[in-house]
Each structure stands twice: as C-alpha cells, then as structure tokens.
Symmetry: C2
Subunit: 194 residues, 2 copies
C-alpha cells in the first residue's frame, strides 16, 4: 500500500511542477499526476489551486521569517540585533535572487498573487523588528518613540536592499556600499543634535 | 511648403505612436508615417530607433529633474529644502503613476532600456541633493560628513516612495504615513545621542 501523502511532500512536488510548467500553466491535475495520486486525493489536502499556491508561498516566506525570528529572540544589545536582523534579511533575499533568479521571480510572483499571505509576512517581520526596537528604547540605546512606527520605518527605509521588485539592482557593485550609507543615515540621522 | 521638423514635434509624435502601438511594436517607419515624412527624413534627426527612444526617455526624465533643480537652487534652510526636494520627487512620481498608469509603465520600460540615460538621471538627482546637503553641513543644520554619500543615502532610503518598480504599492492608504515615519527616522536617527 502507498504511504499516506504528507503536506511537505505535496508542497515539494508542487514546487517542482511549478518550476517545470510555470505559474500560469500549472494545474492541480499536473501536481496530482506528479505525485501519482488522483486529483480527488489532492483536493482532500488543498481545496483549490489557490490554496495550494498559497501554501507554497507561505512555506517559502517562512524560510525568510524563521531565521529572523531567532535573531529577534537572542540576548544582546538592541543595536547589534537590529543590525544583524536587517543584514540577515538583506542577505537572505539577495542570495536567493542570485542563486536562482528564475525561482526567485516565480516565488515572488506567487507571493504577490497571495495578498493575504504577503501581508501577514510583512506584519510578522515588522513585529519581530518592533520587539528589538522596544528593547532598545527601554535600555536607552534608542531614542524614545513609537517602537512599531520606528520598526516599520527601518523596514521601509531599507526596502531598496530587500524588496524583491528591486532585485535587478542588487547586482550593482555599489550595493553594499549603499547599504552601509543608508544604515549610517538611519542610525545617526541627518540633523545635527543640539 | 511644409514647415521644417522640430525635435519637439518628433518627440511628441513618437510619444503618441509609442502609446498607440506599444514599446516593442513601434518602428521608426510608424513614427515617420505619423509625422507625414519619409523615414529617411526622420533618420536625419535620429540615427536609430534606439536614439529616438532615448531622446523620449530623456525628455520625460527632465520633467522630473527640472522642477527639482529649481528647489535645489532656492534660498532658505537646507532642512526645508531637502524635505521639499524629496516630497516633490515623491509627488511627481506618484502623481504620474496615478494619472496614467499605462503611460507611466511605458516610460519606465523605455527608461530601463536606456541604461545610460537612467544612470545620468540618477546622478543628476543625487548631485542636486548633494548641493543641499553640503549647504546644511556648512550652516551647521546637518551633521558633518560626506555630503555626496549622505545625499545618496537619503535618495535610496526613500526609494519605496519614488522608485517606479514599487509604483503598485503607492495606492496603499498607509503610504503617506509611512513616508512621514521614514522621513522622521532619516532626519532624527534611531540611536539616542549621548
């Protein structure tokens, strides 16, 4: 008798099939065929093609948020943590884009279609960053203020270095230098303190 | 006898033809036909289709850089000027995208094809901003440092609000609030000054 289908197995196969046929041309029947099951069996796990695609997008985004969540939970100075967190985010996105640009583009198209999944992902990332910023405000490392707003501002001010829609520019030989300059601006500020 | 062809006339017509046929399907012959001249005549003004497209992209980008250049040249506090400059840049890009998303997308595709044109445009913008930052460093409004690097950092840290590849997100109801938060972060900095 065949082993029961696991969720991971279905998502692995869906990924392979999506990669072979592309986002638009992949059907649930294709995935079922690649798994060697009927599409009825597959529909018992995922009620629609949209649900299946969302699950793939969600798993991919967890590969980003999970290591970042660990950094947010570590001990240490808030300044070091916020820097590690942003650098790790930038590193994860840029290395995925570099290693396999096609797969990266496919995943981003997939995530863009799943608005709720991507919104939840951004919220999760900003919540992690908010936690670090709160710690820094409490410890006196950071200026007092609204930690959530400040975290969102850090996230958006570094978008050039981690937003998938800007991936084409990450190949620039200046990109690391530019990140350092933006980081220094964000942390120290433009205006002279009196 | 026909009036002599002006450069502006050719670019206006090219714009209309590009709009009707799209970037890929427009040929120099189409533009010549719309102008009522032979393509030989048109080639005397622009040596290739690429040159014609570059000229259209350049003119469009000047609509962005010219009003910004005026702000950079005004009298007044550097702080007010840098804020006006960035707000104007954000406003120009976001209103063009809103008024006519298709034309906006076409122009950006056109500009992306003309790498030298877009590079020169970014350099011009950062040079304008550098001038304002230098003034602010001299007047003591801004922290001392490398004005060019600081200007580039301001430009890149606000990319979310003016980079055409992110235009889809400008429709968000939070976008103005997010700009304010990023602006406040950039000017004041995250870290508490001792």
């Amino acid at each position: 008798m065949a082993e029961p289908l696991t969720r991971e197995q279905i998502l692995d196969t869906t990924e392979q099939v999506l990669r072979r046929f592309g986002l638009d041309k992949t059907s649930v029947v294709d995935v079922a065929r690649a798994l060697g099951v009927s599409h009825g069996t597959l529909y018992r796990h995922f009620a629609s093609k949209a649900a299946l695609k969302e699950a793939v997008a969600e798993r991919w985004l967890h590969e980003v948020s999970t290591p970042l969540g660990k950094i947010a939970g570590e001990e240490g100075s808030a300044f070091d943590k916020v820097r590690s967190w942003i650098e790790r985010l930038v590193h994860i996105k840029q290395s995925k884009a570099k290693e396999d640009p096609e797969l990266f583009a496919m995943y981003n198209a997939l995530a863009e279609e799943s608005v709720e999944v991507i919104t939840a992902h951004i919220h999760e990332l900003i919540a992690q960053l908010t936690k670090i910023v709160e710690e820094g405000m409490k410890s006196g490392e950071f200026q007092k203020g609204n930690a959530h707003e400040q975290a969102a501002a850090i996230f958006y001010a570094t978008a050039r270095f981690h937003h998938p829609a800007l991936a084409k520019e990450w190949a620039s030989s200046h990109i690391q230098e530019e990140f350092k300059q933006v980081w220094s601006l964000i942390t120290s500020g433009l205006v002279k303190k009196s």
